[in-house]
């Protein structure tokens, strides 16, 4: 972008004090209790039960079900938002997707409204409908049970259902990806329908409608049906808005309803011509996508690029002001917060607090490799700064050779002012990493962030980035216990790799660990493949496919590999704890000879009871990831390389490679609570470190920490990483400069991503003890944002104990003396001592 027209890129003239509408909308939305929304489940069930034809091809049958829902979806207007369309029938709704994990709340239907953690309102009538009408129809037809039956309850399913080995994301979602909105905004859904109709006609006119050609024709037909569903919903919104305009005496409301009515009569069916039309079109499409695919990490992508031409045209023609653009974008941010996910109470206790993580990406470079930062980038940063909302998950790309320092510092300032968002992403490494995966340079430069930190190419790559959440500590324990994992009993689960006491060298143990990890990864991938094939068989995605490059050209649904690029993501839990444990084994058993392997395992089995001296040694004297100790550096780099080779050695059912990642959402807290003691001195049931972040309190020097994390080979992390850092405060311009410079230094050393919590130990402890004082405290978890109060206790503990660095010295600050029992160990002189 050659020049930024804004007089003030911080846009300080717009605040919640003078944006009365936005202030009001935000106030009404924050703190509202979510409600279970059964509308989609009701319509889909009704259609599939009473109106569908089992003989129809599944692609068409499912498109018709989605069309039926969208055509009958109630057009609702809960407030004065400038954008029409709602994800659910509730002001803040958690939709039920019975084909995924929506039935897991069945036992809670009578109690979910009053449960302790993150309750959801559900009326007795709607609970009855779920219990008696909806759920019974899906008993055999949700992804898990269909797969179990079809593949005869395979061993990999049993491992998944023990929770502590891996989580197969496709049981609950396949949606992690970034649709491309460009064609829909520029040319309208009618254009997509015409194109699909023309391609279908071409096949049918050829006289050969058999085999693969038949399947293509069915796909094109399904696309048309699905698109018509979105258009029907927009028409209903238009009618309802017109009706409501006639019923209100309030001049602002009347005009707003009339405008929305006009807009919805036009888009998304036809091309958008104004900024507001484009934003509303995009939002209605997003609602439509959630009619088919679950509301989890379906990410809007690079909105400052997608929407820029509409903004620019509006500004240039005098039909749009920056103030209006700020208001409209604020309305979109609020709309993206109108839904949440449906989670049973047990899962809340382990993994609670996550939003739906629709990620928005700004900044970086364009397809030609030039600075892509524009006025909308700054408007979106300002909106993020003003609203401080959980969603969208905001991500700022930064290219240290192309983007300006002004932009870099502005992103840093927004992080400081929100205390948490956006996250920073390194364009230089991210682009190279994607190119290394076979992505064309121009496409790689257009990457956006999916959900937490994963890189995808908007409208071109189908990433399923949350396919597998792999617990590395499981593999470590299987190696330590010769194929067993004590937390699930005495049964041998993995291959027999030998008793640790028989290992004559660290390399022998490393080989055993790799064998266990490879075996377990094979099981996780086997299940992911089964789920993928079942999706192909019963839940294709013709609607979503219409927003990607590839499916239309190939006549192939995304789920069959229609996208230009295909991948499946495997994210790893417990990376730092595993590396530190490998370090500890190497040092304690094979370098220092401090103990035998058998003694170490005995200590682990007793959670170090009676082995306090050994634990003190393990904690104090063994190398830690995040420091520049050569053993720690070697083991971390070897592990990254091994997992990369392991994942890339597998090809998925869509023809793409598995790509490793290191983001953990809240799984590191939950899985930590379910794991035994580890060789690095971590006691049983303590949380793991998040993402790719060193273990809390282990890396005392920030510069060394950034160098070692940045020193990991970014090419081996193609699905992204989450490095979480914490500063207690960033007080003045000098601090801010240091803050931004540290990010740049980290990026120049090779880091892919970094995100921050700008809050002190004391603030977080106070927030934990006095939740009412901090109703809106936003924190970064491990790739996404959450309200601190929504997190479970384990996750709160993990965020509190994360190492806090002094921005001026780069050294770790001391943890409050009154709470040192929360830490596994504390700083003491030159080394460490047990707390």
């Amino acid at each position: 972008m050659s020049s930024i027209r804004l007089k003030d890129i911080r846009l300080t003239e717009y605040s919640l004090d003078n944006l009365e509408l936005i202030r009001r909308l935000r106030k009404s939305q924050i703190g509202i209790m979510p409600e279970v929304c059964i509308e989609r489940a009701r319509h889909l069930t009704r259609y599939l039960k009473n109106m569908s034809n089992d003989e129809e091809p599944v692609e068409i049958r499912y498109a018709k079900a989605v069309n039926y829902f969208l055509s009958n979806k109630e057009p609702l207007f809960f407030d004065d938002n400038l954008l029409a369309g709602t994800t659910t029938s509730k002001a803040f709704g958690a939709p039920v997707y019975p084909e995924y994990t929506g039935m897991t709340i069945w036992p809670e239907l009578d109690t979910i409204s009053g449960r302790k953690k993150n309750p959801l309102k559900l009326s007795p009538e709607e609970a009855d409908e779920l219990n008696l009408e909806i759920y019974p129809c899906w008993m055999e037809r949700n992804i898990i049970e269909y797969t179990r039956k079809k593949y005869n309850n395979p061993e990999c399913m049993g491992l998944f259902e023990k929770f502590v080995f891996f989580i197969a994301g496709k049981a609950g979602t396949i949606s992690h990806t970034i649709p491309g909105y460009g064609v829909a905004l520029d040319r309208g859904l009618e254009f997509i329908i015409e194109e699909a109709a023309s391609r279908e006609k071409q096949i049918r006119d050829s006289g050969d409608v058999t085999g693969g050609r038949k399947q293509k024709a069915e796909f094109y037909r399904a696309v048309q049906i699905a698109m018509k569903g979105i258009m029907a919903y927009a028409r209903n919104l238009s009618k309802k808005a017109a009706e409501l305009a006639g019923k209100t005496d309030d001049p602002f409301r009347r005009q707003n309803f009339l405008t929305m009515s006009e807009i919805c009569a036009k888009v998304p069916a036809k091309p958008a011509t104004t900024f507001r039309e484009a934003v509303n079109s995009l939002w209605i499409i997003q609602v439509g996508i959630h009619a088919e695919s679950i509301n989890m990490a379906m990410s809007p992508g690079r909105l400052d690029q997608v929407l820029y031409k509409y903004y620019r045209d509006g500004i240039d023609s005098g039909t749009l002001s920056d103030r209006e653009a700020v208001e409209i974008m604020s309305c979109l941010w609020l709309k993206l917060n109108d839904n949440t996910n449906l989670v049973p109470e047990t899962a809340e206790e382990l993994w609670g607090g996550a939003g739906t993580v629709p990620a928005v990406t700004v900044g970086g470079v364009d397809e030609n490799g030039e600075d892509a930062v524009n006025e909308l980038t700054y408007i979106m940063l300002r909106v993020t700064e003003l609203l401080k909302l959980r969603d969208p998950s905001m991500n700022a790309r930064y290219h240290y050779e192309k983007n300006t320092r002004e932009y870099r510092d502005r992103v840093a300032e927004v992080i400081v002012n929100t205390r948490a968002v956006p996250a920073f992403h390194n364009d230089v490494v991210d682009i190279a990493t994607l190119e290394n995966q076979g992505v064309k340079t121009a496409h790689a430069r257009d990457y956006g962030i999916i959900g937490c930190v994963e890189m995808g190419i908007p409208g071109r790559s189908y990433d399923a980035s949350s396919s597998i959440i792999f617990n590395l500590v499981s593999a470590l324990e299987l190696a330590l216990y010769n194929g067993k994992r004590p937390i699930v009993g005495d049964e041998r689960i993995g291959p027999g790799t030998g008793d640790p006491e028989d290992f004559g060298s660290f390399e022998a143990f490393w080989e055993a660990f790799k064998e266990q990890a490879a075996w377990l990864m094979g099981k996780a991938i086997e299940l992911n493949e089964y789920f993928g094939l079942v999706h192909q068989e019963i839940y294709p995605t013709p609607l979503l496919s219409a927003f990607f490059e590839g499916p239309m050209e190939k006549g192939k649904d995304l789920i069959f590999g229609g996208a230009l690029y295909n991948a499946s993501g495997v994210t790893h839990i417990g990376f730092a704890d595993t590396v530190d444990s490998l370090n500890a084994i190497e040092k304690a058993v094979f370098i220092d000879g401090k103990c035998t392997f058998a003694e170490l395992v005995r200590a682990l089995k007793t959670d170090f009871r009676g082995h306090e001296k050994l634990r003190a040694y393990l904690v104090n004297r063994t190398p830690k990831y995040g420091t520049e100790d050569p053993v720690a550096v070697k083991n971390s780099q070897n592990l990254i390389r091994f997992l990369y080779d392991l994942c890339q050695g597998h090809t998925n059912y869509r023809g793409g490679r598995y790509r490793p990642a290191y983001w953990t959402t809240t799984n590191h807290a939950g899985q930590g609570k379910l794991s035994g003691a580890l060789p690095n001195g971590r006691r049983a049931h303590e949380v793991f470190a998040s993402g790719i972040t060193p273990v809390s309190q282990a890396a005392r020097d920030l510069a060394a920490c950034l160098r070692t994390v940045g020193g990991l080979d970014g090419l081996c992390i193609p699905m992204g990483e989450a490095l979480n850092l914490k500063y207690p405060s960033v007080s003045d311009d000098e601090d801010l400069r240091k803050f931004a410079s540290a990010v740049e230094a980290y990026f120049r050393s090779g880091g892919l991503h970094v995100q921050f919590n700008i809050m002190s130990y004391e603030t977080l402890l106070d927030a934990r003890n006095n939740p009412d004082k901090y109703p809106e405290l936003l924190v970064r978890v491990s790739g996404y944002s959450a309200y601190f109060n929504d997190l479970n206790d384990a996750m709160k503990e993990e965020i509190i104990t994360r190492t806090e660095y002094d921005i001026r010295t780069g050294r770790a600050n001391p943890f409050p003396a009154t709470h040192k029992s929360m830490l596994p160990y504390e700083e003491g002189g030159d080394g460490w001592k047990i707390s």
Binding site: T104, P107, L109, M139, E145, F163
Partner: protein, 153 residues
């Protein structure tokens, strides 16, 4: 006819008695009779024409097998033709088999106000095998009975 049978067989009285027994059972330390009482109570409540509760099994076919780890308890519950049949024997082709260590852990698994489902599964206190949706449905009915017994619904 249903009312007549209820009168003759004193079903309502027996239901009330069983509900009290079941609540006592849940409060006891070992809860050994929890499952047996629950199943008896459930089948009786279906008969007593508590319409709301009976709707749960209208048109529902499901075969459940409960087994204690030490094999001292084997109970099956079969839902068919709007009826529930309980018997102390193995059945073929259950939709779900639930193996449990003792009554207390099963209670905790199904209806505790603070259920520790994950903990139960990890410790292998309770091991379900089969279609979990049947388990969810059963847990819902058990929870509903508990709320009825305590007067909460």
């Amino acid at each position: 006819m249903e009312d007549f049978l209820n009168l003759i067989l004193l079903r309502k009285l027996r239901t009330a008695w069983l509900m009290r027994k079941w609540l006592r059972c849940m409060e006891s330390e070992f809860a050994e009779e929890f499952l047996e009482t629950l199943l008896k109570l459930m089948s009786l409540v279906f008969l007593v024409n508590y319409r709301d509760f009976r709707r749960n099994i209208e048109g529902f076919n499901g075969r459940y097998l409960f087994k204690s780890r030490d094999r001292s308890i084997t109970v099956s519950a079969v839902f068919r033709d709007n009826r529930m049949t309980v018997s102390e024997r193995l059945i073929d082709n259950p939709d779900i088999t639930i193996e449990f260590r003792n009554g207390r852990v099963l209670l905790n698994y199904l209806i505790s106000p603070r259920p520790d489902i994950l903990g139960s599964m990890l410790r292998q206190d309770v091991t379900p095998r089969g279609n979990l949706n049947y388990l969810y449905k059963f847990a819902y009915m058990a929870k509903r009975l508990q709320l009825m017994a305590t007067g909460s619904v």
